[in-house]
Symmetry: D2
Subunit: 379 residues, 4 copies
């Protein structure tokens, strides 16, 4: 009988990070994929995934709508609480052999709790890394609930082992997000999604901005946004600006984006919610500089050789390649850093986060490894 | 202005373990106590706490009823999910400066998630220890969400630091459960609660049994129960048997207890739900042997010098004193181990888990320490 | 394309009441059955249905565990709230054309709200009747949310129309519970389930007791139970006593049952949780008197001609046949009424609640009627 | 001891409708007010109330954040389910003698279920009226759960009695919304909130638009919005346009509003979220025509004599005065109807919905009436 692998996706970014794994599970002779879409993926406002995922050939998707309005600091907690409740029902009905949860957003905790409290082996992808924000707490807490770890880098593996995880359960497979980036990098024929990005399609040079609220610095969200916006506005280069994840503070940023949009001032800034994963990576590959605090700058962009300006504390401590220049949230710092990157141009591709076979490796381990829910810290 | 310290109690055992801290917070000039009672504490069936806590002089208790019927493996997850949701509302309404969560039961995760996701500094008592069961996962996951740690032993402190916690946030205060045990040990005048325990009050020698389901060994719950029951039945010594915590499997044990009770066979076994913390400790102090898998055997009993037979994997790995003899779940092993302890009699008091001032120490640190919700693994 | 009919069952009693409709939907060429099992049906403690329903040939059952421990007055509300949340997800995933909800237990409100708030046409079976208890409020509130009504009696139809429901949406089909009762009545060959009822299987004369807590008289639950128990105890006739539904007060009754069982006093009382619907009806058919406050006494028993003593306010106002003698909760009144019924013996069968074809009629209407979610009171 | 009256407010509109009752309860010698703010009132996006309510002198407000993102048809159900759960906890902690719920929005069901399932007498304000939309179902279902009814009109009282409510529990007090409208009508000195409405403050003539999605006509939401917007755009009169309630479809309307705003085309349309109740009524009092489908057009505007164009089915069947002209959603119909009203000008004040003393009357009845949770349909 095939092992049932239930993958829970809670955010648009997680889909592109896990897509090659989903495919590898789907085609694996000993595995059966159970795909759950929840959280912000269910909403167009945050770049809904349901259509996209269907178009990519995944069917029988289980949908869970659990996102609370996020103006309030209770929203992340309540969304997660609802997620625990509803995922428990999903797991009761589809009885997976393994649950897979991804990265470190707060909602990943839902899948981790529901699975571990129901004695279902839990696999965690992208554990062992270091950042700022609530993500740092969530990532390590999920690792402590997980039975199997698939990590992106050697130092992530070392860190999990130092934290007391059993070495044979920590697999250095590389990150599946890199699998897709490598395909995009290689395949010059991959079509750029002109329709979504028409306004700057012919731009010889453009920026991409991905800036998420740092929940632990909630008081500064608005100022941080305006520093960055002012910088981009002054640079006056065509820019694709992705609207933020539904973290505490996102409502505030969306409001400011709307206010700015209404001024009609800088027609060169084009706000986007989501792109198809491959189109997205193509956009990143060709951009002159990726600005903000998304992990895409650290992960996929390092492989693609894209110059990155990483702002603030959100990615603080995460391993990085030469393509990243850090800046704080002052207008000058941001503008200077972007200028350095525009002057520098493309970087060499770095394979820090993987070699392109992570999805297949992980699927294979999931098919073969002995499953258990009993674990104990090693010291 | 006083710091508001919100303590969330989810199980009867947690109350006696934290009672001296509650008092210390209540009387501290710079602190204000916000007490939340939730989970199984709300139900008589599991030894309801609400009356008891009122009688002890704590008022304005906030009550949250969130326990699902636990026949089903989803119950722990859903109870926790509901807890996250409802505690988020409590925190929104009482806006604590610090949330305190205790030990490692699954429901502690509710308070940990609600607080950390709402950027409220989270203090964790009894982290850094090692056991079996889902508790092991929960304990370390809560540590990863917590900003401040109050640990019972030096090795627990070392373990948290090894796990990457910042040393200055890990306080070796001893365990508040020991505070109460020391008071009971010293004070010969403390009244034993004869009313609740009338049937064996005059017993010269009696056993106490505290056996909880091991959720990760759910298939064996019934057999484990009957092994132990058969052993106690054959020993034919007056016995106080505490009904289990509301873990997955408890419904099954309660059903077996009922079935056994209906036979009316061994009138020497008296089933109990709860006792007042002091009465409970007095019961433990004077018993000939404490049998089962409760951490009370490892913690309070070591201070009280009570002989303990610890059965199965639940406390596997937890630091222990000489008073503990381990046994597996076979009838012979249990009977032999109990006989060894009956022959041995009292042990020397051991102060492994604290010196009796933990409550006061913790309150003092909570009053003075700099609060922050930003933390990062140290390596 | 077949119409998808989603039937939500929340209590053991509802299954036997709706079973012929489930079969009729399942075999109907234009209908497709989506069966959801939730609430107390998920728990053995309250007569779990999941195995039984599978054995009856229904598959792909969707399971929702949402029952809170019911010691507390919040349990019914929270169970219902959880039900709304989880059923909304079920409906989102299986997108039914019609949702069917049954009778008047508090949890039926979950299905009614989830369906009506999601613009899914809602059909209600057994509306328009009158009783006491919270059921009275729930039943009429559900009627006000429902778009299609399938009622058991002519006066129920008149009552719904008087309440402002559009006449052409109120169908007098009879009650599906009677369908099964007629089959049992006719078929002498139907096997009685001796295994479950071994202790009185050879009894020439026996009582059946079905007594549920009246939530709006919560303070009296314990006294009501003991009045009835004393009466049955003194009559000293073999008795099958069904444990109560999970209403507020059930925990108290279960505790008293346990206490009574432990006395081992009256070995003639056999406590039961559930029986297969047909076995149950056979038990009722042959019993000397059905005692308590279940609607079974009013509905199925009138068809079967079983003498019934109906106690207290729970069925107050419900249309009844000659087979019912009412009594209040005094010991004398109960004993006298039972004696009257024992002296009287069997009654003529009455077809007040249906003629045996309700399931087929309802399925047919569901297949053909125009569906709409727009309704307005008629005055 | 004072009777504790817990009033649950779930939407901005409900606050102005109930404000005089809140004051009357607060100052009543035998009553104690427990005020709960929940649902969309908690969010700025939908005109958050928490600050406003504090400024009006109400303190110790209990806050419950339970609003899910409403792009999806499950949101209303899940928000209501969460509301039931959380309000049950509130009621458990503050133990009200009566719970008051207002009008007919879907979330009112939360308070109605939590209270009635917990045996707390439920009072309903604004029952017995007729409209379209899901509101129609909700309103009558809440009436069926309620023990006490405070209705606005004589025909509403007759309707509830016809529906089987006990006449002595149906009080024709008038609607508290009219109390405030009468104060505003009389008091010429009441200050208009110029700051919020600066752009048209000096307008001699302006429109107000209040258009909510009709959840049961979800497919038409976008078209309905654009018909109305086109009409207003062509009329080219200064317009205050209130953003919609958080019903299913609101996300779509907000998106269209944003799209329209970004065009910067019609600077005469000013989008608003909320106003202080008195400022709001002043705005309505002085406007040339109130356009849309809000009940304000039917209720307060009839008292204020404001010309109203009521569009579509949402208020279908609600009693109205001469000030209302109905139109369907075609561009021509809307423009014609507005023109008729502009030509007509002010209407005579009509007291159909009350005489201005509803708040005081209701508070008095709440203080004196015998409370019970037992009710039964009268036929």
């Amino acid at each position: 009988m095939k092992r049932k692998i239930c993958v829970v996706i809670t955010a648009r970014a997680s889909y592109s990070r896990i897509k090659t794994l989903l495919i590898a599970i789907k085609v694996h002779p000993s595995l059966c994929l159970q795909l759950v879409i929840t959280g912000s993926c269910m909403l167009d406002k945050y770049g809904g995934l349901t259509k996209l995922v269907s178009q990519d050939g995944f069917d029988q998707i289980i949908k869970i709508s659990n996102l609370l309005e996020n103006e309030n600091s209770t929203a992340a907690a309540k969304t997660t609480g609802l997620g625990v409740i509803e995922l428990a029902s999903v797991f009761e009905n589809v009885s997976p052999d393994v649950v897979v949860t991804i990265a470190d957003r707060y909602e990943t905790m839902s899948a981790a709790i529901a699975a571990s409290f129901m004695n279902i082996p839990l696999a965690h992808v992208q554990g062992g890394e270091v950042t700022g924000n609530i993500d740092e707490k969530v990532r390590h807490a999920v690792s402590k609930l997980a039975d199997i770890h698939f990590v992106a880098t050697a130092s992530a593996r070392n860190r999990l082992i130092a934290m007391g995880e059993v070495p044979e359960n920590v697999w250095h497979t590389g990150c599946p997000s890199i699998d897709l980036a490598i395909q995009v990098k290689k395949d010059a024929s991959l079509q750029f999604d002109y329709e979504s990005c028409q306004s700057v399609s012919s731009a010889s040079r453009y920026l991409v901005v991905m800036q998420h609220p740092v929940t632990t610095e909630h008081g500064f969200t608005k100022d941080q946004f305006w520093s960055l916006l002012k910088a981009v506005d002054e640079l006056n280069i065509p820019t694709f600006w992705f609207t933020p994840n539904p973290d505490y503070g996102a409502a505030r940023i969306l409001k400011e984006i709307q206010r700015y949009s209404e001024t009609g001032k800088n027609l060169k800034i084009h706000f986007l919610r989501n792109l198809h994963p491959e189109a997205f990576l193509k956009l990143i590959k060709h951009c002159a500089c990726l600005v903000g605090n998304s992990s895409t700058g650290i992960r996929e962009a390092s492989l693609l050789g894209t110059p990155v300006v990483n702002i603030g504390s959100r990615q603080h401590g995460r391993e990085r390649s030469l393509n990243v220049v850090d800046a704080d949230f002052s207008l000058n710092a941001i503008m200077e850093a972007i200028q350095i990157q525009l002057d520098h141009g493309c970087y060499e591709s770095a394979s820090l986060y993987g070699k392109g076979d992570a999805g297949i490796l992980i699927a294979d381990i999931l098919a073969k490894m002995k499953l258990s829910v009993n674990k104990q810290i090693t010291y």
